[in-house]
C-alpha cells in the first residue's frame, strides 16, 4: 500500500492497533479488578451465611416447638375479637379520638405561648438586674413592669397547660377502656413468640438480596459491606516488628465467623463456636475475652493474614490431617515464619508466657500434666527451665551411697536401670541406637564401672543406727498400704483396692530386696533424715516392730532376673585409652601418657569415674561428692526453646523422616534422643549424651506443651498475669506442697489426692483440704505441721512428720490462707486468733445450746472425750484451738456438703435456711449456730492433743 507523504505508517492500521490495544487494556483492567475482588475468604463468608441460615432455621423450629401453638392460636383469636369489638364501637372511638386531637392541639399551642412568655420574662429580668446594678433606676423600673407582666402571663399559661394535660389524661383513659384488652393480649403473645421474632429479624438481616448485592459490589464495597474482614486489635499481647512492639491484629473471625457466637458448636470448621467459649476464652465473660486477648495470643500464627487457608499458617494436629491439608489446600511447612500456629494439642503452651511464677494453672490440664512430669523425671536437673531454678535435685543424694547399695548394684543399675525396674525414672544412657556398637559399648562399660568405683570410694562413712530383724511380711505389706506409703511410692502386687493408686513421686519399690542393705533400710524407714538431712521422705513415726515388718516385706521383693545379670569390671586398657584422650585434650599425647604413668591404678579408676560423672552429668540430678552445687547443669537451657529457629535444631540426617516444625522435632527428640546420631560418623566422645526416658506419647505431648511455651516473646505488662503479693506467696506455697507431695494424699481445693483412688469412703482416707486456710487457725496449723498430733483417730493413713523448714511451713500456711481470699464468706483476717473469752451467753442461750447438743446427737460421731464408742469424727474438745469461728459459723455448720460433699456430717441447717431443732431460739438458724459454737468453745480445751513422738 502506498504511504501518504509525511507518514511512516498507514493511519487505518494504526487505528486498528489502537482498537486492539484498547480492548486488551479494558480486559486486563477488568481482570485485575476481579483478581483483587475475588478472595478466598469471601467464599468462606458467603458459605457462612448458609450455615447461619441453617442454624437459625433450626433454632426457629426449636422455638416454635417449645411454644404452645394452641395458646398462640387462641390468643390470636382473642385479639381479633378484641379488634372487632373496637371496630364495632367505631363511632364512639372516633369521637374520643377527635376529642384527643383537639386537646392535643391546645396543648401544643399553649406550649408555644408559654415558651415565648417564659423567655421574655427571663430577658427582662436580666435587663432589669443589669440596669439596677449599674445605677439606672428609671430604666430598671421600666423593665420591672415588663418583667412582671410576662411573669404573670407565663404563670397563667402554665396553669392553663395543666388543665389541658389533665383533660388529655382523662381522654386517654377513656380510650384505654376500648383498647386495653387488645394491648394486654398482644403483650402476652409477644412473650410467647418473642424469641422466634428476634430470630426471624436476625435471619432477615443476613439474607442475600438486592441490597446485599449492592453493598458488596466492587468499588461500592468500601462504604458498608456485609462481606468484610472482621478483626480484633489486641493491645495486651504484642508482636515484635523490628524494634517495635505492635498490637496483634487478629482477623481469624473473618473465616471463623461464629467463633464467639453460641449455637454453632455442632458445625464444621471454620464455622464452629469456640469450644471453651464461656469459661476460658473468646466469650465476653470468659477469662480471656477476644477483645483483650484475640486469638493469636494463645494459638499463634500469622493471624493478620486472611487471604487463603495457608496464609495464617494453620498447623495440622495429626499426620492424617496434614495429608488431607496437603491435598486440599496445598499445605506445606512454613519455613520462614517464626511462630506458626500451635497444633491444637499444644495450645496450652501459650499460657506460660503470660502466667509465670506459678506451679499449676487452673483449666490448663495438659500443661499441668507436663509440669508434673518435668518434676517427676527431673528435666530441670540438666536443663535450665524458668520456674524450676530453686527445686531440689531430682535424684537422691549419693554422698553416702556405699551404706545403701553395693558397687555391683550401681554398675548394673547405671548400665541399664530398666533391667532392674521397668518403671525407673532414671533414664537409660547406654545400649541406645547410637552407642550399642561393641567398640562403644565396651568403652561405656568401663566408664560405668569406673563411676561405680568412684561413687563407692568417695562415699562418706554411714552407720545405720538400727539392725535389721526379720518381722512379719504380710503385716508389712498391710502397713505399706494403710499408713500412706503409696501416696508417693508404687509397689507391684498390692491388694485391691490399693493397687489402683498410681503415684510416681517416690521410688518404685518392687525389687527393693535385690537393691538395698537391710540395716540401711530399717534405719531409713525409722528416720529418713538420719541418712540424708535434706530428704523429702518424711517419717511415719513407725514403731520398731512396724519397721521390721515393712522391711521384711520390702526385702522379700526380689528381682531374680536382675540378680542373675553379671556385673562387670573396669577394662584397664580401655580405661587408660579413655584417660589418655581426656588428658590429651589440651596437651600433647606424650605428656598425657607421662602423666598417666605417674598415676596409680586406683587413681586412674577415680579419675575416669569422676570424668565420666561429669561427662554424663550425673551430678546434675544427684548430689555427688567432688561436684560443687554451682557447677552448670549439663544440658542446654530450655528457656526460649519455643522461639528457637528451626535451623538451630540439629536434625542430623533425619530431615526426611522428622517433620519440619519445633513440636515434631521435640517429639522425635524425646521419643528417641539417640536418633540424631543415626548415620552421623561421630567419634566416641562426641556421641549424643541425652539419655532415653522411654516416655509414652501422651507424656511427650504434655512435656512438649511446657517446653514449647518457653518463648522469648515480650509480653506487655498489661497482658501478663501479674501476681499480687498474696498470689506470689500462694505460688511459693504451692511449690512447697508439690515438693513434699502433699497432693499425693490430700485433694487440695480439687487438685491432687492420688491415694484417694483406693478409698470408697473418703471419710476413711486423708481429708480433703477444702478452704483449709479459712478452716484452721494459723498458729494451730503452724504447730501441727511442726509436730503432728492426732485429729482423726479413725483414719489409718498417717499424717507423716515432714522435715519442713520454718520458711516452708510459713509458705504453706500463707498459701492456704491466701487461697481463700476469694471465698466470699471469709470476713476475718487470716491472723493468729485468740480464742479465749469467746463465750458470753445471752439469757437462755446456754440451755438452748445444750438442748440442741442432745437432740442433734453430736456425740454419736464425735465421741472423743464423751463416750467410749469408736469415733467417726474429730474430737470436739480440740476444735476450739484448731478451727476458726467464722468458718464454723459461715461455712461448715451452715452447709458441710459445700465443703466436703462426702462428709457424714449432717446438713442440719441447710445453708442457714431451716431451723435444726424446732422451737429453739426463735427457730433462727443464725442464733442456733452461734449458740452451738459458744457451747463448743465452753467445753473446748485451750490446747491441742499431745503430739506424736517423732
Amino acid at each position: 500500500m502506498k504511504k501518504e507523504p509525511g507518514m511512516a505508517y498507514n493511519m487505518k492500521t494504526l487505528n486498528k492497533v489502537f482498537a486492539v490495544l484498547s480492548i486488551l487494556f479494558l480486559i486486563s483492567t477488568i481482570w485485575i479488578v476481579l483478581d483483587d475482588y475475588i478472595r478466598p475468604w469471601k467464599a468462606v463468608q458467603i458459605k457462612g451465611l448458609e450455615v447461619k441460615e441453617k442454624v437459625l432455621l433450626e433454632q426457629i423450629k426449636e422455638a416454635e416447638e417449645s411454644t404452645d401453638g394452641d395458646k398462640v392460636r387462641s390468643l390470636n383469636a382473642k385479639i381479633m375479637a378484641a379488634k372487632k369489638d373496637i371496630d364495632s364501637k367505631d363511632q364512639e372511638v372516633s369521637k374520643v379520638k377527635e376529642k384527643l386531637a383537639e386537646v392535643q392541639k391546645k396543648i401544643y399551642i399553649q406550649n408555644m405561648k408559654n415558651g415565648e412568655d417564659g423567655s421574655r420574662a427571663s430577658e427582662y429580668q436580666f435587663k432589669y438586674e443589669h440596669a439596677f446594678s449599674h445605677n439606672h433606676p428609671k430604666q430598671a423600673a421600666k423593665y420591672k413592669i415588663k418583667m412582671d407582666y410576662y411573669r404573670v402571663r407565663f404563670n397563667e399559661g402554665r396553669d392553663q397547660l395543666k388543665v389541658f394535660q389533665q383533660e388529655e389524661k382523662k381522654i386517654n383513659n377513656e380510650m384505654k377502656t376500648y383498647t386495653d384488652k387488645k394491648t394486654s393480649l398482644e403483650k402476652e403473645l409477644e412473650k410467647l413468640t418473642g424469641t422466634k421474632d428476634l430470630l426471624l429479624t436476625s435471619m432477615k438481616s443476613s439474607q442475600k438480596g438486592l441490597v446485599w448485592l449492592i453493598r458488596n459490589m466492587p468499588f461500592i464495597d468500601y462504604l458498608d459491606p456485609t462481606i468484610k474482614i472482621h478483626q480484633w486489635e489486641v493491645k495486651n499481647v504484642t508482636e515484635d516488628r523490628y524494634f517495635q512492639q505492635v498490637p496483634r491484629v487478629d482477623r481469624c473471625k473473618t473465616c471463623h465467623l461464629f467463633i464467639d457466637t453460641p449455637g454453632f458448636e455442632a458445625q464444621e470448621q471454620p464455622y464452629k463456636t469456640h469450644s471453651k467459649l464461656t469459661e476460658l476464652a473468646v466469650g465476653a465473660n470468659s477469662a480471656h475475652p477476644a477483645k483483650l486477648f484475640g486469638c493469636s495470643s494463645c494459638h499463634q500464627g500469622e493471624s493478620h493474614k486472611v487471604f487463603d487457608f495457608r496464609s495464617p499458617e494453620h498447623t495440622p494436629s495429626s499426620k492424617e490431617q496434614m495429608v488431607e491439608w496437603e491435598k486440599k489446600y496445598d499445605w506445606h511447612y512454613p519455613h520462614k515464619k517464626p511462630q506458626p500456629m500451635f497444633p491444637l494439642i499444644y495450645t496450652e503452651a501459650s499460657c506460660v508466657k503470660c502466667h509465670q511464677g506459678v506451679e499449676y494453672l487452673p483449666m490448663a490440664n495438659k500443661l499441668n500434666e507436663g509440669k508434673k512430669l518435668i518434676n517427676t523425671y527431673g528435666c530441670y536437673g540438666c536443663h535450665k527451665i524458668e520456674g524450676y531454678q530453686d527445686k531440689v535435685k531430682p535424684g537422691p543424694a549419693l554422698k553416702k551411697i556405699a551404706a545403701k547399695v553395693t558397687k555391683e548394684f550401681i554398675t548394673k543399675w547405671v548400665w541399664n536401670p530398666r533391667s532392674f525396674n521397668e518403671h525407673a525414672k532414671m533414664p537409660s544412657f547406654f545400649m541406645q541406637a547410637h552407642n550399642s556398637k561393641e567398640e562403644f559399648a565396651n568403652k561405656n562399660k568401663t566408664e560405668v564401672a569406673a563411676m561405680a568405683e568412684f561413687l563407692i570410694s568417695k562415699s562418706e562413712e554411714y552407720k545405720p543406727f538400727m539392725k535389721y530383724k526379720a518381722g512379719d511380711a504380710d503385716k508389712g505389706k498391710e502397713l505399706i498400704q494403710t499408713v500412706g506409703c503409696i501416696g508417693c511410692h508404687q509397689v507391684e502386687g498390692l491388694d485391691e483396692p490399693w493397687n489402683a493408686v498410681k503415684s510416681r513421686k517416690g521410688t518404685y519399690l518392687t525389687g527393693t530386696g535385690s537393691k538395698v542393705d537391710p540395716d540401711w533400710l530399717v534405719s531409713w524407714l525409722k528416720k529418713p533424715s538420719h541418712y540424708q538431712e535434706d530428704t523429702i521422705m518424711p517419717s511415719f513415726r513407725l514403731t520398731d516392730s512396724e519397721v521390721s515388718n515393712i522391711a521384711t516385706y520390702l526385702l522379700s521383693l526380689k528381682n531374680e532376673k536382675f540378680a542373675e545379670i553379671e556385673s562387670f569390671e573396669i577394662d584397664k586398657k580401655l580405661r587408660d585409652g579413655l584417660l589418655t584422650e581426656y588428658l590429651a585434650q589440651f596437651e600433647p599425647i606424650a605428656m598425657a601418657e607421662a602423666k598417666l604413668a605417674k598415676m596409680t591404678d586406683h587413681q586412674r579408676n577415680m579419675e575416669l569415674g569422676k570424668r565420666s560423672v561429669g561427662k554424663y552429668g550425673c551430678y546434675s540430678c544427684h548430689n555427688i561428692d567432688g561436684f560443687s552445687p554451682d557447677r552448670a547443669p549439663i544440658g542446654p537451657e530450655l528457656n526460649g526453646f519455643g522461639s528457637k529457629p528451626l535451623t538451630q535444631l540439629g536434625y542430623g540426617q533425619q530431615h526426611d523422616t522428622v517433620g519440619h516444625s519445633r513440636h515434631e522435632w521435640l517429639f522425635a527428640h524425646l521419643k528417641q534422643p539417640s536418633l540424631w546420631d543415626k548415620g552421623v560418623p561421630k567419634s566416641f566422645k562426641d556421641l549424643n549424651k541425652m539419655p532415653n526416658f522411654y516416655l509414652k506419647d501422651d507424656e511427650i505431648h504434655s512435656i512438649s506443651t511446657v517446653i514449647l511455651g518457653l518463648v522469648r516473646d515480650y509480653v506487655p505488662l498489661a497482658g501478663q498475669k501479674v501476681l499480687n503479693a498474696e498470689e506470689k506467696l500462694m505460688a511459693e506455697g504451692k511449690k512447697v506442697a508439690s515438693k513434699y507431695n502433699c497432693y499425693g494424699c490430700h485433694k487440695i481445693d480439687g487438685f491432687g489426692g492420688d491415694i484417694l483412688a483406693a478409698y470408697d469412703d473418703y471419710n476413711m482416707g486423708p481429708p480433703f483440704l477444702m478452704k483449709q486456710g479459712h478452716r484452721v487457725n494459723s498458729d494451730w496449723f503452724y504447730k501441727f505441721l511442726k509436730n503432728v498430733h492426732p485429729i482423726r483417730s479413725y483414719v489409718q493413713a498417717r499424717m507423716p512428720s515432714f522435715n519442713f523448714s520454718n520458711d516452708e511451713i510459713n509458705k504453706l500456711i500463707t498459701y492456704f490462707n491466701a487461697t481463700h481470699k476469694d471465698a466470699k464468706t471469709f470476713h476475718e483476717k487470716p491472723s493468729f486468733l485468740d480464742n479465749r473469752g469467746m463465750v458470753k451467753w445471752n439469757p437462755g442461750e446456754r440451755d438452748a445450746a445444750k438442748q440442741m447438743w442432745e437432740e442433734l446427737a453430736c456425740t454419736s460421731c464425735h465421741t472423743g472425750g464423751f463416750n467410749s464408742e469408736e469415733a467417726q469424727a474429730p474430737n470436739l474438745h480440740f476444735a476450739k484451738k484448731r478451727l476458726r469461728v467464722s468458718w464454723l459459723r459461715d461455712v461448715w455448720l451452715k452447709d458441710p456438703t459445700k465443703v466436703m460433699d462426702y462428709s457424714i456430717m449432717p446438713n442440719f441447717w441447710e445453708n442457714g435456711t431451716i431451723s435444726a431443732v424446732e422451737g429453739v431460739l426463735d427457730d433462727d438458724p443464725k442464733k442456733q449456730i452461734n449458740a452451738m459454737i459458744k457451747y463448743l468453745w465452753e467445753f473446748g480445751y485451750d490446747k491441742s492433743p499431745e503430739p506424736f513422738k517423732k
Binding site: G6, M7, A8, Y9, M11, L14, V17, F18, L21, S22, L24, F25, S28, T29, W31, I32, D35, D240, R241, Y242, F243, E302, K336, K337, P338, P645, T647
Partner: protein, 358 residues
C-alpha cells in the same frame, strides 16, 4: 547429564566458558551476525531453558521467589539486542566495505515524517502495551512480599534485588570496601565518562561494528561477562550461605565446602620462605604491594605497546590514561576471581589495621 551440568556450571568453569564464548563471538562476528545464526540461537536457548524447567529441583528453586522471572526476560532480551546490533552493524560494515553507505544513510531512510501520528500515536501504543504487560505480570506472578523484616530471622540466602546480584557476587572476591563502594563507584563514573572519552565520530546515526571494534568489545565484555553473567550466577547458582549450587542441586543449607583462603603474604613468607610473618606491616605485605604496583607499572606500558600508537594520539593523554585506568580496574575483577579459584587467594594486600584489603 544433569550432574555434569551441575559440575561445569561452577563459577570457575562457567566463567571461563563465557569468556571463551565472548572471544569467539568477537572473532567470528561475521558468522554470528546472520539471521540463520540468530534463529538457531533463539531455538537453542528456548529448548535449553525449556529443558531446565522440566527439572523439579530447578523449578522449585526458580519459583521460590517470583523475582527470578525477569531474569529469563533479561536473558532473552540481552541476547537478542546484542545479536541484533551486531547483525545491523555487520550489515552496514559490509555495505561500507563494498563502497556503499550505511543503510540508515540511504535517501529513503532519511526522509522526514510527521511527529503526529507517527511518533506520538505509537508512543501511546507503547504505553498501553506496557501497562497491559505489567498488569498481567502482576496478576500472574504475585509480588514476593514476605513478613516485615526481622533482624533475628535473616533469610538464608539473603539476596539483593536481582539487578544487584552482580555486585553481590563481587563481594565473594573483594573486600566490601572495594566490592561495595569503590568498584560500583567506578562503574558509575566510568559509564558517565564514556561519552567524553569516546572521540570516535564514526557510528553516529547508524549501526557499525568494525568502525568501533575496540569500544564495542570493551563495553560488551564489561556488560555481558562481568555484569549480566554475574547476575545469572547470583540468581541461579548461589544458594544458602552464598555457596555454589548447580541448577539441579537441592539447596541444602548444610552444604559444606572446603574454602581455606590464604593471603599473598602467607604464601610468600610462610609457604615460600618458610618463616613467620614479619611484624612490620609493609614488610609483611611487600609481595602483594610489589605485585599491585607491578600490575600498573608493568601493565600500562605493555598495554601502550599494543594500543598506544593508535589511540594515544587520537584521544589525547588525559582521555587515554583515564581509559587505561578504568580498563585496568575492570580487569582486576576477573584477575582476582581466577586467583581465588586457582590458588585460594584471599587478599593480595591484607592490612586489616587500616581496613585496606585488596
Amino acid at each position: 547429564m544433569k550432574n555434569i551440568i551441575d559440575m561445569i556450571m561452577a563459577p570457575e568453569y562457567s566463567f571461563t566458558a563465557v569468556v571463551v564464548l565472548f572471544i569467539l563471538m568477537i572473532k567470528y562476528v561475521d558468522k554470528i551476525a546472520t539471521k540463520k545464526f540468530g534463529y538457531s540461537l533463539l531455538l537453542g536457548m528456548t529448548v535449553f531453558i525449556g529443558w531446565l524447567f522440566t527439572d523439579n529441583v530447578f523449578r522449585l528453586n526458580f519459583f521460590a521467589t517470583n523475582d527470578n522471572v525477569p531474569i529469563i526476560f533479561l536473558v532473552f532480551l540481552v541476547v537478542w539486542s546484542c545479536w541484533f546490533s551486531l547483525y545491523k552493524g555487520i550489515q552496514n560494515d559490509n555495505r561500507i566495505a563494498a563502497g556503499g553507505v550505511p543503510l540508515e544513510a540511504e535517501p529513503e531512510n532519511r526522509e522526514k515524517v510527521w511527529s503526529w501520528p507517527n511518533l506520538v500515536y505509537t508512543e501511546l501504543f507503547a504505553i498501553i502495551a506496557c501497562t497491559i504487560f505489567l498488569i498481567v505480570w502482576a496478576i500472574v506472578f504475585k509480588s514476593p512480599l514476605e513478613e516485615p523484616a526481622n533482624p533475628t530471622w535473616a533469610p538464608n540466602p539473603a539476596k539483593a534485588p536481582w539487578y544487584f546480584l552482580g555486585l553481590q557476587e563481587m563481594l565473594v572476591y573483594f573486600d566490601p570496601w572495594l566490592a561495595g563502594v569503590l568498584l560500583p563507584g567506578l562503574i558509575i563514573v566510568g559509564l558517565v565518562a564514556i561519552p567524553y572519552m569516546d572521540v570516535n565520530p564514526k557510528g553516529n546515526g547508524y549501526y557499525t561494528f568494525r568502525e568501533r571494534k575496540f569500544a564495542i568489545t570493551t563495553f560488551l565484555f564489561g556488560w555481558l561477562v562481568l555484569w549480566v553473567f554475574l547476575i545469572i550466577i547470583g540468581t541461579f547458582l548461589r544458594g544458602p550461605n552464598w555457596v555454589y549450587y548447580g541448577p539441579f542441586e537441592v539447596w541444602d543449607a548444610h552444604k559444606v565446602l572446603a574454602a581455606n583462603n590464604v593471603n599473598i603474604s602467607e604464601y610468600f613468607w610462610i609457604k615460600l620462605l618458610n618463616q613467620g610473618l614479619p611484624k612490620n606491616i609493609l614488610v609483611r605485605e611487600i609481595a602483594g604491594i610489589i605485585m599491585t604496583v607491578g600490575y600498573f607499572v608493568v601493565g600500562i606500558p605493555l598495554f601502550n605497546k599494543f594500543f598506544g600508537n593508535k589511540y594515544l594520539k587520537r584521544m589525547g593523554m588525559i582521555r587515554y590514561y583515564l581509559m587505561v585506568m578504568l580498563i585496568f580496574m575492570t580487569l582486576t575483577l576477573p584477575i582476582k576471581m581466577y586467583l581465588r579459584w586457582s590458588i585460594n587467594l584471599k587478599y593480595i594486600i591484607f592490612m586489616p589495621e587500616f581496613e585496606f584489603n585488596i
